[in-house]
């Protein structure tokens, strides 16, 4: 399950922000390591909703700092 989420998230990161899939590992910080800016995070949230059916409200999005944070949030809220 978490592998599927990591793969799916990596696909989104590649499409939206040009992050190489091999770099999309749980410990990576979106802003510090992957150069993903705040507008791109909004796009990523929309793509996550499309792919996983998990909506990320703005106050939750602000707490998602790493790829691992996003994976956990998706895992926890997936129907």
């Amino acid at each position: 399950m978490s592998e599927d989420i990591q793969t799916g998230l990596a696909e989104i990161l590649e499409e939206v922000a040009g992050v190489a899939p091999a770099d999309a590992t749980p410990e990576k910080s979106f802003t510090e390591d992957l150069d993903v800016d705040s507008l791109s995070m909004v796009e990523i949230a929309t793509a996550v909703e499309d792919k996983f059916g998990v909506a990320i409200p703005d106050d939750e999005l602000a707490n998602i700092k790493t790829v691992g944070d996003a994976m956990s949030y998706i895992q926890k809220n997936k129907a």
Partner: protein
């Protein structure tokens, strides 16, 4: 205008146009008499009276990194492509110019219309949450200037004149002023436009401003010709790098030409119709000549705005005749490129610079039967073949809806 700054020179040129993906291929196609105009085949266009456009020769998205391209409106993509070519051509990056002394002035007529209209479709179909977070930076009219500023790392100021089809020329005039006021050492100037879409096409068609010669795309844009019936909408961008002559010579830069002067006026006559005798246009040309400390007799060539509309071309012919006379070799390159709106003045300035550098005036295509208008008849309009000439100074003029008139004077290096 003599200032302590001395002369201003052009050290870099860039363009992506309906004729080619860079300056060299565009110029070659222009001299070869090729047309950038074609007929749209999309379903939506079938009920349109005017179905012709001058599409870019090369998709700019393919010339940029994929992720960067998806965050830029097409008008910003073409701006970045043209600006990067001009910047490389100038060699300014290798000359160690401080980013705080590099400025950008880049205009557009319409701005990010494709983004505005595309995101409105998404809003209607899917609701507000689906609208892209990049919508505003992609549609804002300073977007092309901002994209160019980021592309070359300009930190001395980024400016975006908006004066419809005079925007590109106005950007060049502002750039000249920035250098004269010593607000920058190098200024990248230009214009960008990319708005081929049903709404702008319908709007221009409703004004009866576009050619409806749908069955003869390559013959539709015919400035000064008796049978002209409107302009053809084009897309693209062009850019020039301006700097002080002493600094450019000191670093051994290639100098394409000098930007000797500029003039700008407003018609104060009508929102869209030009003054019939080109009064404001003529004053702009006269002001540019004074600014360049030249006389009409010095001007050997005019790259005319001439969009192929019935009213505009004769008004401009009167302005040229009044301000310069009948001796200059006039050409109307929109006959091949179509009308690039906010990029037109920049592209035609690139052509003017190349005409001076190569001592060669491109021909006006499709000028089979010049208008009976007395001024058109009096002018020496180059047609059929490019004409070799001995040129020292040339004028490029541009006019925009709103009554904006800009004239630029370039001289040989």
């Amino acid at each position: 205008m003599s200032t302590s700054v001395g002369d201003v020179v052009v050290t870099g040129l860039g363009a992506t146009t309906p004729l080619g993906s860079d300056v060299a291929s565009t110029w070659d196609a222009l001299l070869a008499g090729r047309s950038g105009v074609s007929r749209l085949t999309d379903d939506w266009v079938k009920e349109y009276p005017a179905q012709l456009v001058a599409r870019l020769a090369t998709d700019p998205a393919g010339q940029l990194d994929r992720v960067r391209a998806r965050r830029l409106d097409r008008s910003q993509q073409v701006a970045a492509v043209a600006a990067e070519e001009a910047w490389r051509d100038s060699g300014a990056a290798d000359a160690g110019v401080a980013p705080e002394r590099v400025a950008v002035v880049f205009g557009t007529g319409i701005g990010g219309a494709l983004t505005l209209l595309g995101q409105d479709d998404i809003l209607e179909e899917k609701g507000p949450k689906r609208v892209s977070p990049f919508t505003i930076p992609m549609l804002m009219p300073n977007g092309p200037a901002a994209a160019v500023g980021l592309a070359i790392g300009a930190r001395g100021g980024v400016h975006a004149p908006v004066s419809a089809c005079a925007s590109g020329a106005e950007a060049i005039r502002w750039g000249l002023d920035l250098l004269r006021f010593d607000r920058a050492d190098v200024v990248l100037v230009g214009g960008a436009e990319a708005c081929v879409h049903p709404l702008p096409m319908a709007g221009f068609a409703a004004m009866r401003a576009m050619s409806t010669r749908n069955d003869e795309p390559e013959r539709a844009s015919r400035p000064f010709d008796k049978a002209r019936d409107g302009f053809v909408l084009g897309e693209g961008a062009a850019a020039l790098v301006l700097e002080r002559g002493d600094a450019a010579r000191a670093r051994g830069a290639r100098i394409h030409a000098r930007l000797a002067g500029a003039g700008g006026t407003a018609d104060g006559y009508d929102l869209v119709a030009p003054h019939p005798e080109g009064e404001g246009a003529g004053r702009a040309i006269a002001a540019a000549l004074r600014d360049a400390e030249l006389t009409a007799a010095d001007i050997g060539h005019v790259n005319a705005h001439a969009t192929s509309t019935p009213v505009g071309d004769t008004a401009e012919a009167a302005a040229i005749r009044n301000a310069i006379g009948d001796h200059a070799l006039v050409t109307a390159t929109k006959s091949q490129t179509g009308h690039l709106l906010g990029a037109a003045g920049a592209l035609e300035s690139v052509f003017t610079v190349l005409a001076l550098r190569e001592q060669l005036v491109p021909a006006t295509a499709n000028l089979d039967d010049p208008d009976d208008d007395a001024a058109v008849q009096a002018l020496d309009i180059v047609r059929r073949e490019p004409r070799k000439a001995s040129l020292t100074a040339a004028v490029n003029d541009s006019f925009g809806f709103g009554g904006h008139n800009i004239a630029l004077v370039f001289t040989t290096a």
